[in-house]
Amino acid sequence: MVTERAREFDTQDLLINVGPQHPSTHGVFRMVLEIDGELVKDVIPYIGYLHRGAEKLCETMDYRQGIGFMDRTEYLAAFNAELSYVMAVEALAGLEVPERAQWIRMILCELNRISSHFMFMGAFGVDTGVMGTPFIYGWREREGIIDLFEEISGDRMMYAYFRPGGLAWDVTTNFKARVREVLKSITQGIKDFDGLFTENEIFVARTKGVGYISAEDAIDYGMSGPSLRASGVPMDVRKDEPYLKYSEIDFKVITGEHGDVFDRYHCRLQELRESVKIIEQCLAKMPDTGPIMPEKMPRMLRTPPGEVYLRTEAPRGEYGVYLVSNGGNRPYRLKVRSACLSNLQALKQMSVGQYVADAILVLGSIDIVLSEVDR
């Protein structure tokens, strides 16, 4: 990069501050970039602006009250966050979830994955400089899914719909027809993005070979989800340790080859297609009637002493809930393993040596939700 001519000049490193209130940081995230000309020499991230102490607050609350806090940690994929939490409570309490509730959970979680990935496409498009179009496309698709969620749970973002044992109430009678309707729109939406990004020469030139991370480094930093799979590691909790009914479903784990920004985008795009496939299979297998809660549920849910680290595959990676009980009606200790926190740790590794404008792309490509990072 440095030519002989450039060496003759006396250069000085410059520190620039990005965020915490900057549109490209996807929330309140601050990083100090040390730059030499256009090249990034060091990145110092600062997080914690959204720290609300959700873990401590959950220790003071009944198990069912904690569900709302899980929604608020991961607000773009609240169903996935709730799922880890209620499954952890179920594992400790030894609750058996009725089959129909499991299928509904799977459908909603996969739909939430799709809506979250569409949100990523939109925001990432803006990061790369494609103003407007992808953002509107992404929101349009997400809107259809969120309308469906609102019909079912009554809320657009913070659903609090999963309960230990099953679901809060049954889905609407036209559930299957509505999901099929939304899937149709999603399938078109995926095609739109494929044309808008994957076949866009400028987009490809802008993202290929940028922000590379090797498989070994990604594993060592504890990355997970599409950001890790883009480096070629086929790690997916849905496949490795199947929960709900994933063992009965046929789907592929999408991996990339190069571990760059383009692969992280492309993995997510292909995952959308896999999610559509999963939902279609779920719709075919889901019984139309049946219970959604175990017949006998205690009014006060107590768990025997014990602990469990329950992990599920959320859109951004592994969302783990470590629940420790000492026999009461509330957690003794609750730890949320945030996928974004671990992914964000690798930011320095991916950004150093890149151009300043590409550092923004790298940050966008790991799809962070600061609320989940800080909890």
Binding site: L57, G222, M300, V308, Y309, R333
Partner: protein, 177 residues
């Protein structure tokens, strides 16, 4: 180790990776416990990092992925530091625990084994007041830079009044009431 085995019924570890772990950790004091999903290995803190490194480098176990690192405040019984390990190619899990006495809260850093431990240890350190000796970057992570003497996740850390009210009898009556 032997005293515990005589007082407690010997747990059944068939179908788990415990035999492999026991082999890899020969010479290290380990007390196994069967968790709901994973095996839990209790290791004294002087040996914990040696054990973690051996678990990572052992060819048959190959725990190359640190899922999570956190702590539990057991009040009088000290603070437990918990490591959740995973192997990305062998697809198995292990939980490692080490207990620190409340009077002496320090444990060697695991950043030398996995870089993933860096931020996780910073968070655990500020939340519980644990010192990870040898940590390359011992700053606060989520807490403000100047609040190094406040450790919110300790049980002794007071709750705000509103938080106490939220936890007391909102909606759910006591069973049988």
């Amino acid at each position: 180790m032997t005293t515990e085995e005589t007082t407690q019924p010997v747990a059944d570890f068939s179908g788990t990776i415990w035999a492999e772990v026991d082999r890899a950790l020969s010479g290290v004091t380990v007390r196994p416990e069967r968790g709901l999903l994973d095996v839990i290995a209790h290791i004294p803190r002087d040996e914990v990092v040696t054990a973690l490194r051996r678990l990572k480098t052992d060819a048959a176990l190959h725990f190359d992925y640190l899922r999570s690192l956190t702590a539990i405040d057991r009040e009088a019984d000290g603070i437990e530091v918990v490591y959740h390990l995973y192997s990305t190619d062998k697809k198995h899990n292990l939980t490692v625990k080490t207990t620190l006495p409340t009077t002496d809260l320090n444990v060697p850093t695991a950043t030398t084994v996995w870089r993933a431990a860096n931020w996780l240890e910073r968070e655990t350190a500020e939340m519980f007041g644990i010192q990870f000796t040898g940590h390359p970057d011992p700053r606060t992570l989520l807490m403000p830079e100047d609040m190094t003497d406040v450790h919110p996740l300790l049980k002794s850390h007071p709750l705000a009044e509103i938080e106490v009210l939220q936890g007391e009898g909102m909606g759910y009556p006591e069973e049988g009431a």
